[in-house]
């Protein structure tokens, strides 16, 4: 008998995603009656570095701050219906997240929770000692005289598949590739393994298409009059219905907003993709150059023709170090001659930074003219000749120290009394920055491990 199709749902694209979107996805997975898994992608490079900072301050933290917010609305139904929830919401502290999930189950009266934890990605204590190779042509990050905030290897799907063998309700990971969150359950269900390169690649593409959540179902897509999307306030998150041969259909729960069509799928296939024939993951090298799409029904797009090549020998490790401080300030000018007053304000800010001998890189923007598309030199802004009704002046400075960053932000506020006429609405902000770089390590230096945390363990 042929192996039954598996349905995979993607319920979060980042740590700040909508918290309620998992509900219709979980319900659709359960109602289908098919083998299924629901995953949450919560980690960006920077998010993980910040999680490590949190963990240093408090050993009970360091996982996705909204962990309970994401999992609460779906936990009971997923546990009762045997749909495993998989998430990299463990961030810097997967075991801490497992403990929090048990607390949550207790609060919700969900009994017998089983949480599998995938660890082994955290290489912070050993990264200086293991041999590393440069990743791509990126400028190598200098680790000699700096504290390492985080160093995490991108684990693949295998430990997730192993974790699922233990029949958990939830699988918590730290850094794994986003696509592994989908490939893991597919490997476990279909028995795919290294060597089944085309199928493994199809699983990676499922993960790639789902890991940005609403971005494949009409989110981040609408361009009124060109690409119209209905009901983005109730955007339905994606589901992939995967067949044993690796072909699959991308769809979304009935009755939700958004749209799944060839255009939305094309935008998401190419999202953050470099060479389309060589997308490197720890599990397989994905080649999408022969992929074909077919709209097979309303909000249903079939994806086929995925090719895979043997997985690389090395694993990517992202290393984060202190990145200094960003200071920002903004002030608005409106009405007659707003642009001239705004230009004057920006000029005054540049002069003040010189006068005070502030050691920083400064950029000024005239928001409302052309700013975000411009470079730091302000070439497009200088040649702008429109007449905006309002202009918001922004100063942004990178500095090694907090005090300098704050001084730049403060100088924007001082324009209230000392700058051009009619400036208002000042906002100031300073942000601690994180610098990240990537290196490659040998697979033998990374040992993923899986453990089970049951009610009795907490």
């Amino acid at each position: 008998m042929a192996i039954e199709n598996m349905h995979i749902g993607g319920a979060a694209a980042f740590a700040d995603d909508r918290l309620d979107v998992g509900i219709p996805v979980a319900n659709a997975l359960i109602d289908s009656g098919k083998p299924a898994a629901l995953f949450y992608e919560n980690l960006a490079e920077r998010t993980l570095a910040l999680a490590h900072r949190e963990l240093r301050k408090d050993p009970l933290k360091g996982y996705t701050p909204d962990l309970a917010g994401f999992v609460s609305p779906v936990l009971r139904r997923c546990v009762e219906n045997g749909v495993p929830v998989i998430g990299n919401f463990g961030a810097a502290n997967p075991m801490g997240a497992a403990m929090r999930l048990h607390e949550l189950a207790k609060e919700l009266g969900v009994k017998g929770l089983r949480v599998a934890v995938v660890e082994g990605d955290d290489l912070r204590d050993v990264i200086r000692d293991v041999g590393t190779e440069q990743w791509g042509d990126e400028e190598p990050i200098d680790l000699s005289n700096t504290e390492i905030l985080a160093a995490n290897a991108y684990l693949g799907a295998e430990p997730i598949a192993d974790a699922l063998d233990l029949e958990p309700h939830i699988v918590v990971t730290g850094r794994v590739t986003d696509s592994a969150l989908a490939l893991g359950p597919l490997m476990q269900h279909f028995g795919w393994k290294a060597g089944d390169w085309d199928k493994m690649a199809a699983g990676v593409l499922v993960g790639h298409l789902l890991e940005c959540g609403g971005q494949v179902t009409g989110g981040y897509f609408a361009d009124p009059g060109f690409k119209d999307v209905l009901d983005l306030a109730d955007l339905g998150f994606p589901i992939a219905e995967v067949e044993a041969d690796g072909s699959f259909v991308i769809t979304k729960p009935d009755g939700t907003g958004g749209v799944v069509n060839e255009q939305t799928v094309k935008e998401q296939i190419l999202y953050e993709l470099d060479d389309p024939s060589n997308y490197l993951t720890p599990d397989v090298i994905l080649d999408i150059s022969e992929v074909e799409l077919q709209q097979v029904g309303p909000d249903r797009v079939r994806v086929s023709g995925v090719k895979g090549k043997p997985a690389p020998d090395t694993l990517k490790v992202t290393v984060s170090v202190d990145g200094g401080w960003l200071g920002e300030g903004e002030i608005s000018y409106a009405g007659p001659n707003a642009l001239a007053r705004a230009r004057l304000a920006a000029e005054i800010l540049r002069q003040r930074v010189d006068l005070l001998h502030l050691d920083c890189d400064l950029r000024t923007d005239l928001i409302g003219t052309v700013s975000i598309h411009d470079g730091d030199s302000g070439e497009l802004t200088r040649s702008y000749d429109g007449e905006p009704l309002e202009v918001r002046v922004r100063a942004a400075a990178n500095a090694n120290d907090k005090a300098t960053a704050w001084t730049v932000a403060r100088e924007v506020q001082a324009l209230y009394c000392n700058g051009p006429a009619g400036g208002g609405g000042v906002r100031r902000n300073i942000t601690e920055r994180v610098k990240t770089g990537s290196v490659l390590v040998s697979r033998r230096d990374v040992m993923p491990r899986v453990s089970m945390v049951t009610e009795e363990d907490v």
């Binding site: 060479d275 389309p276 074909e292 920055r433 994180v434 610098k435």
Partner: protein, 122 residues
């Protein structure tokens, strides 16, 4: 023949999305209708895309053609002035830059434009 061509922004016949990897900008250009593929292949070249991002310090633009998918993928090096870690731009990820690329002018036949408009409204 060429007399009948109309100059329009790429936005009229194509859509796209940008992503980032460090200081590298990754940008898709996707014709609404398959008839838009050939004029884009011919006119939205690596060198023109490079020019589009030169004011931001870009050093190279590469194009990957995907005829089966009906799309193009551009990789533009050093266009993000430090990327999300270090950029002073409000948009350190370069997420808004697909709509800069879509301002590029292309010359297309009325048929190609009409086909794009029809596909857009679907």
């Amino acid at each position: 023949m060429s007399k009948s061509l109309i100059e329009v922004p790429l936005h009229e016949i194509a859509h796209g999305r940008t992503g980032d990897k460090g200081d590298r900008l990754l940008l898709s250009v996707i014709p609404y209708d398959e008839t838009g593929y050939a004029p884009i292949a011919e006119q939205v070249t690596e060198s023109r895309m490079f020019e589009m991002f030169q004011h931001r310090g870009a050093t190279e633009a590469r194009r990957y053609d995907l005829p089966k998918l009906g799309a193009f993928n551009f990789v533009i090096e050093n266009a993000l002035q430090g990327g999300v870690n270090n950029s002073l731009n409000l948009d350190g990820h370069g997420k808004t830059l697909s709509f800069l690329a879509l301002t590029m002018k292309v010359r297309v036949s009325p048929d190609v434009l009409a086909a794009a408009k029809k596909a857009r409204s679907n």
